[in-house]
């Protein structure tokens, strides 16, 4: 029986060493391995079935060379005898052939069962792990999310988990099978002939030595290759997205030279890697050839002398053919185990990411609110430097507050504190007198409608995007919300109306339309408090009017905290808070602030007036006013 493979690769892809992710870390982290195997626990019975199946499979496969030897011996002796002895010999030979067939059939079923079980367990565990990661990502605070980065988190849940999938389906079972084969062959050889067995084992230390030396050379090369490849990919990605700039600045030659350098580095490193990964298999082949010859010569002499049958010799050769491959794959498996531990560590790092914003013990549901928001001596920062210092502000229900001030003054930080995207350092934020840290997060955030500067749309239908505001809303309610913000007619004008799919991040819609959809979302949610970060990028004049009107309607009757970029929004606000360096430097209504001739006056009149006055100076004054 031929094949030694226990591989149950679900993909039909051919895998060669150069495309395998071999993150050869410094060692194995036992702790994360143990934790990883914890994920196998719910499936321990299936795992036992798989182990049993692979044991049957391995034993069956190991029996085959011996059976072949017995058949050869039986045939030889039957050939030499005659009469009834020959008949008896033939009959026992047929029984041996029967056992041989039984073994093959047994191996077939065992292999099938083993394959089906392990892949199932593997996929299941991977699923559990991904879901755990996803659930945790929902709870991670925005600050950690910003720090970890979306790209990195996606690669955790995508690539790192996939690395583990290989380990769990192929690796664990394969490791077990390899060890079983190794031990099985050692036992089988010893049972067959102690002397020949010991002779074969003498080769083993050389083999292990070769593998160890190989690893020492290979590890740095593979690491360098990974680095070079990712550099090249990074540079390509950047160049492709910046191609217009490259061409505008005629950088083609310089950039190509740089690309070529990186490309050459990949090429030369790969040339080295190629030499290394071409060396190992022939080395093993050489050793197993040597072992075969030793057995053939020594065994052959013994057979001639009569101490050994040809069948036993044949069986030995069969075993030698399989003896060295587990040693080699064990080393490969060690590599994949290492890259798996690296992946596992990265995954557990995310899972262990502390949730800075969670429900406190004893948190209660926020009861129905009227919508008063109070900042009391609030100090807050992202790193060690505070961006908001001792902020005090009370916003009465139904009031619209416009936050104005230069970039980096702390406007966004202030509004992010209210839905508890971040926690204050000191002081407190209260809604209707409830400290927001004492109520449950879910009940708190239900109170808000939020419109961000960069409107986020999911790649689903427009209708579903509006419905995100209230999941159980009927189609009529969705349409009513769209009507209220003035986007209904536009949506209806599309060939598939509310069922129109919007592309990734809302592509295909203009900035203004996206804003209107996010207003509709808030209308549908009908929250008591609205948080709005107005878009700075200008939309065309007609849309602008619609957006302003929609905004007015959305904010009506709700408490609103607005980072304002439109003068109309500011002027209509019930309260303007001028923020500078994390403090409120002025507050009041528009007219009051202008009268005060302070920071607000400077901020807004200066920019507008200067331009106007310049124009006035150049033109006839009466055409302007």
């Amino acid at each position: 029986m031929a094949m030694a493979t226990t591989k149950q690769n679900p993909s039909p892809q051919y895998r060669s060493i150069d495309n395998r992710e071999t993150d050869l870390g410094s060692g194995l982290n036992r702790q994360s391995l143990r934790r990883l195997f914890g994920y196998l626990k719910p499936y321990r019975w299936q795992a036992l079935v798989a182990l049993a199946a692979i044991s049957v499979q391995t034993l069956g496969e190991l029996a085959l060379p011996r059976l072949l030897g017995l058949i050869i011996d039986g045939a030889t002796s039957a050939a030499q005898s005659s009469g009834s002895a020959r008949e008896a010999g033939t009959r026992s030979l047929m029984i041996t052939v029967g056992i041989f067939i039984a073994c093959i059939i047994g191996v077939f079923f065992a292999r099938w069962l083993q394959g089906a079980t392990t892949t199932r367990i593997g996929y299941r565990v991977i699923f559990d792990l991904r879901f755990d990661l996803f659930k945790h990502m929902q709870l991670i605070g925005l600050r950690s999310l910003d720090r970890l980065g979306v790209g990195r988190l996606i690669s955790r849940i995508q690539s790192d988990v996939s690395v583990l999938q290989d380990l769990l389906t192929d690796g664990v079972i394969g490791l077990f099978a390899d060890l079983l084969v190794l031990v099985g062959i050692i036992v089988a050889m010893l049972l067959l002939d102690v002397e020949l067995a010991l002779l074969t084992f003498a080769i083993l230390p050389i083999m292990i030595g070769i593998v160890l030396v190989w690893r020492r050379y290979a590890i740095p090369v593979y690491r360098a290759l990974r680095v070079a490849t990712s550099r090249l990919t990074g540079y390509s990605a950047e160049s492709i997205s910046g191609m217009r700039v490259i061409q505008s600045f005629r950088r083609e030659l310089e950039n190509f030279e740089r690309f070529e350098r990186l490309n050459r580095e990949v090429y030369t490193t790969n040339t080295l890697a190629i030499r290394l990964n071409s060396a190992l298999a022939p080395a093993v082949e050489m050793l197993s050839g040597t072992a075969t010859v030793i057995i053939l010569v020594v065994g052959g002499h013994r057979a001639i002398a009569g101490g050994l049958t040809i069948g036993a010799l044949t069986a030995f050769i069969g075993y030698i053919n399989r003896f060295f491959s587990p040693v080699r794959t064990l080393s490969e498996r060690y590599n994949s185990l290492q890259s798996a531990t690296v992946a596992a560590e990265r995954i557990f790092e995310v899972l262990d990411e502390e949730l800075e914003i969670t429900d406190q013990p004893g948190a209660y549901d926020l009861p129905a609110i009227v919508g008063q928001v109070a900042f009391e001596h609030v100090t807050f920062g992202y790193t060690d430097r505070p961006v908001i210092t001792d902020l005090n502000l009370t916003i009465e229900p139904g009031m619209t507050v416009a936050f104005v001030g230069p970039t980096g003054a702390g406007k966004s930080s202030i509004i992010n504190l209210v839905p508890r995207f971040y926690d204050v350092w000191s002081g407190r934020v209260a809604i209707d007198g409830h400290d927001i840290r004492e109520v449950t997060l879910a009940s708190l955030r239900r109170q808000f409608g939020i419109v961000l500067q960069d409107t986020f749309l999911f790649s689903t239908t427009i209708g579903e995007n509006i419905r995100y505001g209230r999941l159980d809303a009927t189609d009529e309610e969705v349409a009513a919300a769209a009507k209220a913000v003035g986007i209904h007619d536009f949506i209806e004008s599309l060939p598939t109306g509310y069922k129109t799919k919007v592309g990734e991040r809302g592509s295909g819609l203009s900035v203004g339309q996206r804003q209107l959809i996010s207003f509709a979302r808030v209308m549908l949610a009908n929250p008591r408090i609205v948080i709005l970060d107005e878009a700075t990028s200008s939309v065309d004049t007609q849309t602008e009017q619609i957006v302003q009107e929609a905004l007015r309607r959305t904010l009506q009757g709700r408490t609103a905290l607005v980072i304002a970029h439109r003068l109309s929004t500011i002027i209509e606000a019930d309260l303007i808070a001028v923020i500078d360096q994390g403090r409120i430097v002025e507050q009041g209504r528009h007219s009051e602030l202008l009268e005060r001739r302070g920071a607000y006056y400077r901020l807004y009149t200066a920019a507008q007036l200067q331009e106007k006055l310049e124009a006035v100076e150049q033109e006839q004054p009466d055409t302007i006013v």
């Binding site: 051919y14 495309n19 089906a116 490309n263 052959g300 202008l594 150049q618």
Partner: protein, 592 residues
């Protein structure tokens, strides 16, 4: 695969690429042949050792053949090593060359191409597709060649040894092949479905993370979990569906070879009993069957590799076949000094041939040093005008002249080095601030860079950074604010010192306060240059010598600010609307 290229054409392409390294190709073929030759010899030697040595009691034969086997297995190992190195090297060499060619080609393609191209797709051509092609040479092509030589060689040897047993083995081969190919073709679509579903599950994750703020704001964590769970469940089902077949197929292959072995062993034993076969020959057959099984099992995956490589070759050659229509003419206009006189003469333009005209009969005259304002709503054609100026696209009708010469007659690098852009979105590379400023002129001295930064009002904030001009920007570096980025872009344009300047919504993505800060820098930049200002805010073009108001690709109004206000048309209406708020401020302030 879109059937644009025939399979034969693509395969020929792949072979031609290999032919670029003829010596290695020959060495590769020789090493494959020799390594196969040696591995075919081994079972024969073992057979002779047993039949003529062990079975007949001839010690000398045993020893001699033992030495021969060692020599052959060493030779076999040596040629296997060379085989591995050469065949993989060919793949590596081809990928290296292809990557260079693709990158160069991408640099040469015009904006028209990038309008419709997806950058993710282009990146995957330069990474994934090139890798697929590398795998065509090794393992795919090598294995196919190797396997056929092995098959033919062992068939010949086996037939000379014992034709009856040979027939049994050779009947197995087509059965194995058929099974591999059958399961391969059944598993592949299921596997593709799995991948697609995987992509879907991952896009749920991606959207969820990108929209994290929204998810949290609406408290939709549970809803998102349910979404992910549904996608994950579907993925799991697909995976199981695909693996059910592949695990069966995986178990099947050794089963078939096992049956073959049984047949050989049983038939062989029968012949041995009858004295028609020697045991050594039986062993040799067993060894040949073993040698053949693995390569045949690999044919399924190998054919997958080939299919992938063909699809990738097609994608790459499709890309390489794209020609840029915008190239320097044979006898280009390369003036030593440029005045900056710009004339648009009845220019019409469509992004694609026969497509909707985004510009119609545009005529603009901009003498050196003048400021032209282009205003209009989104999609009115403002940006198209300035892109024609630097010949990122060619006009459909009419002419764009710089210093009286049609831009199509200009040397392209000379033309573009005389047009500087400051765009709404500043593209900075993840490189040092210094390199980003010197982007248009890599040879600029440090003094020049600092001088440009100073003039752009950027020197102060750069100096405040911990590493000054060496500060690395981008994903792994420092993030700049919109105003800071804009000032770097201005410094970049200043250093380039172009005669013609384009400000495309240069200040629209920054707030008013920041806009005021960069106005000073912009004024420095514009001094003495022909400038095109594109803006939606009327306030940005008040000082222009000529303002062109665009609507639906046509200039509907034109004149100075004063003239246009008097005209009381579209411009006036827009102006009134946009300045209404400002007027309120103004009146309130003046009444105060």
């Amino acid at each position: 695969m879109t059937e644009q290229y025939s399979v034969r054409y693509l395969v020929r392409r792949l072979f031609m690429l290999m032919g670029e390294s003829p010596r290695m190709t020959i060495v590769g073929a020789i090493t494959i042949l020799s390594s196969i030759g040696f591995s075919l010899a081994l079972p024969l030697l073992i057979r002779t050792l047993i039949n003529n040595g062990v079975a007949t009691g001839n010690m000398r034969v045993v020893t001699e053949l033992g030495i021969a086997i060692i020599i052959v297995s060493f030779l076999s190992a040596g040629s296997a090593y060379l085989r591995g190195v050469t065949t993989q090297w060919i793949g590596e060499r081809v990928s290296y060359g292809l990557r260079n060619r693709i990158f160069r080609h991408l640099e040469a393609l015009s904006f028209t191409f990038y309008d419709s191209a997806q950058s993710g797709q282009l990146l995957s051509i330069i990474t994934e597709d090139v890798r697929n092609i590398r795998r065509f040479y090794s393992p795919a092509l090598r294995m196919l060649f190797q396997t056929s030589v092995l098959l033919i060689g062992s068939a010949i040897i086996m037939f000379t040894l014992d034709w009856k047993l040979a027939l049994v083995v050779l009947v197995m081969v087509p059965v194995l092949l058929a099974i591999t190919l059958y399961f391969g073709s059944r598993v592949r679509p299921r596997y593709l479905r799995t991948q697609r579903q995987f992509g879907e599950a991952m896009s749920v994750v991606q959207e969820n993370l990108a929209g994290a703020r929204l998810v949290r704001a609406f408290g939709r964590e549970r809803f998102e979990e349910a979404k992910f769970l549904a996608a994950g469940d579907a993925l799991f089902d697909r995976q199981i569906e695909a693996s059910r077949l592949s695990t069966f197929a995986n178990a099947n292959m050794p089963f078939i070879t096992g049956i073959g072995t049984v047949l050989i062993v049983a038939l062989g034993a029968w012949q041995v009993i009858n004295g028609q076969l020697q045991v050594g020959t039986l062993l040799a057959f067993y060894l040949y069957l073993q040698q053949l099984t693995d390569p045949i099992r690999q044919i399924g995956p190998i054919m997958n590799n080939v299919a992938l490589a063909l699809a990738s070759t097609e994608r790459i050659y499709e890309l390489l076949a794209r020609r840029s229509l915008i190239t320097t003419p044979a006898t280009p206009h390369t003036p030593t000094t440029v005045q900056g006189d710009v004339q648009f003469r009845e220019v019409s333009f469509a992004y694609s041939r026969g497509g909707r005209e985004v510009l119609r009969d545009i005529s603009i005259s901009a003498p050196p040093g003048t400021i032209i304002g282009l205003v209009g709503a989104t999609g009115s054609g403002k940006t198209s005008i300035v892109q024609l100026l630097a010949r990122f696209y060619d006009v459909s009708r009419g002419q764009v002249l710089i210093d009286g010469v049609d831009v199509r007659e200009w040397d392209l690098p000379t033309l573009r080095s005389n047009v500087g852009f400051v765009l709404q979105e500043t593209f900075l590379f993840s490189d040092s601030i210094r390199d980003n400023i010197a982007y248009g002129r890599p040879e600029a001295t440090d003094e020049e860079i600092v001088a440009a930064a100073k003039a752009a009002q950027a020197h102060d904030f750069i100096s405040r950074m911990p590493e000054g001009y060496d500060t690395i920007l981008g994903e792994r570096g420092v993030n700049l604010s919109g105003g800071q980025k804009q000032r770097l872009a201005i410094a970049r344009a200043l250093l380039l010192n172009p005669r013609i300047l384009v400000l495309d919504e240069a200040t629209s993505s920054v707030d008013m306060e920041t806009e005021r800060e960069i106005q000073v820098a912009l004024a420095t930049l514009m001094a003495g240059r022909t400038t095109f200002i594109i803006a939606q805010r009327v306030s940005s073009v008040l000082n222009a010598d000529q303002i062109c108001v665009l609507a639906k690709g046509q200039i509907v109004e034109r004149g100075t600010h004063r003239e246009l206000v008097e005209l009381a048309g579209l411009y006036r209406r827009t102006y009134d609307l946009q300045t209404r708020d400002a007027d309120i401020v103004e009146r309130l302030a003046l009444n105060d």
